[in-house]
Amino acid sequence: MSVERTLKEFEEDRKEAARVAARMLLASAVTSPRVGGVGECTVHIIDDECDIEDLCQVVEEMSSENKAWEFFLRDAAMLRDADAVLVVTSLRSLTDPSDINCNLCGKLTCEYLRKEEKLPMEPGIAYTGPLCTFRAMNISYAVDGIVSLARNLGIDYGVFWSAGAAAMRMGILPRATGFALAVAISVTEKSPFRDIPVKYSEINERTMNDRIIRRLWPQFRSIYS
């Protein structure tokens, strides 16, 4: 980045725009339709660069736990480019079935679901199901509330379940959280969440900078000084 004052201001304002947008998106998520309506979902904003990095580290660690989770590495690389991450939680899906016997979980009645043994919280398991699916799917309205407004505001977004699961692992969400999804947002000219190259976890802007520009610079300096 250039040292020009105006460019530095632009960078600051860009980040501020993402922070403001994150709060607008939170409002959209909270007011989206909900079954039951009360105390179902919460939305948490992570907009500190260091906090986002912490989240990415956990996402990366989780990728080795399950063969199906190899794409978590790519997710982490994308999340590092996010200006803010919104984590949407489902507070009632784990402990408080909806008592409408909808059979989405396949247990016929909520009483049977209550008696069902949950999966243990161990590596390779993201959510300790069986969850009340009727409760868990409630957060899709919150997530789409974010997506819908982000589209209107012209904010780039990416939806990641890996980051939601990682946030649960980190213990930064309410204790009763049974299910969580994350939406990362970015205010940049090119969305970092779509149209990405293969092997993105290995070859991305950071590794390119590190392995090409930053390697080259000391040599250039020592040769031409």
């Binding site: 989405l104 993201a126 899709s140």
Partner: protein, 219 residues
């Protein structure tokens, strides 16, 4: 110059709006780029059929009965119900555990449990995709100025009556172009007497000074 009547324009606007909602549902964000939802819309007598079924559940499902009575009123003004459905098995291979099975393969192998409301066990992410489509449709309806509400009761009725064959779970979005918002006002279905009775039964401590006192003989 032709003159078009208001009713005609409202009806054709509503028809167009339902198409736009379907479009929004189809193109909404989906996990894993798995877009397998099915959408149909119903109006008039088909909605009445769902309403009748819901209402017939009566005391067995008071919420459904209430929504049934409501839907019977809904069709008196220009209205439509969008039904969005999907199959239950996982297509994602996320192995996330939310459904209670360790892997998607285990979930897909599990025996299907059929019921009137929906068939389970179902993949949570497939449900999420389905309901994000529902929210996109609702958001579109909101933007187009329609009255809108998402109903699971009418959707369960549609599943029970097999209005939408070949799907395991359904969600419904009801829209209306009535003069005033017919949703979120169910007070007209309550008489003062019923209200008082129900309130007293549900919240007995609200009017009682000392909770330990027994004031009502049949309590």
């Amino acid at each position: 110059m032709a003159i078009r009547e208001m009713d005609d324009m409202v009806q054709s606007g509503l028809d167009r709006a339902v198409e736009m909602m379907t479009l929004a549902a189809k193109t909404s964000f989906k996990f894993g780029s798995r877009n397998t939802i099915k959408v149909i819309s119903i109006t008039g007598s088909e909605i009445e059929q769902l309403a009748e079924y819901c209402f017939s559940l009566g005391d067995m499902a008071p919420l459904a009965a209430r929504d049934g009575r409501f839907a019977a009123d809904l069709v008196k003004e220009p209205s439509a119900v969008l039904l969005i459905g999907d199959k239950r098995q996982s297509l994602f291979n996320y192995n996330c555990g939310a459904c209670g099975y360790r892997t998607c393969a285990e979930l897909n192998k599990a025996e299907m449990v059929e019921s009137l409301t929906s068939n389970g066990p179902s993949c949570v992410f497939r449900n999420i995709n389905l309901h994000m489509a529902a929210d996109a449709a609702a958001a579109m309806a909101w933007r187009l100025g329609l009255h809108c509400r998402v109903f699971s009761t009418l959707a369960f009725a549609a599943k029970a009556l097999e209005v939408m064959p070949g799907v395991d779970m359904i969600v419904s979005i009801a829209v209306s172009a009535a003069k005033t918002d017919p949703f979120f006002d169910r007070h007209k279905f309550w008489t003062q007497e019923v209200w008082d009775q129900t309130f007293k039964k549900e919240f007995p401590t609200f009017t009682r000074g000392f909770i330990g006192a027994v004031e009502d003989e049949d309590w």
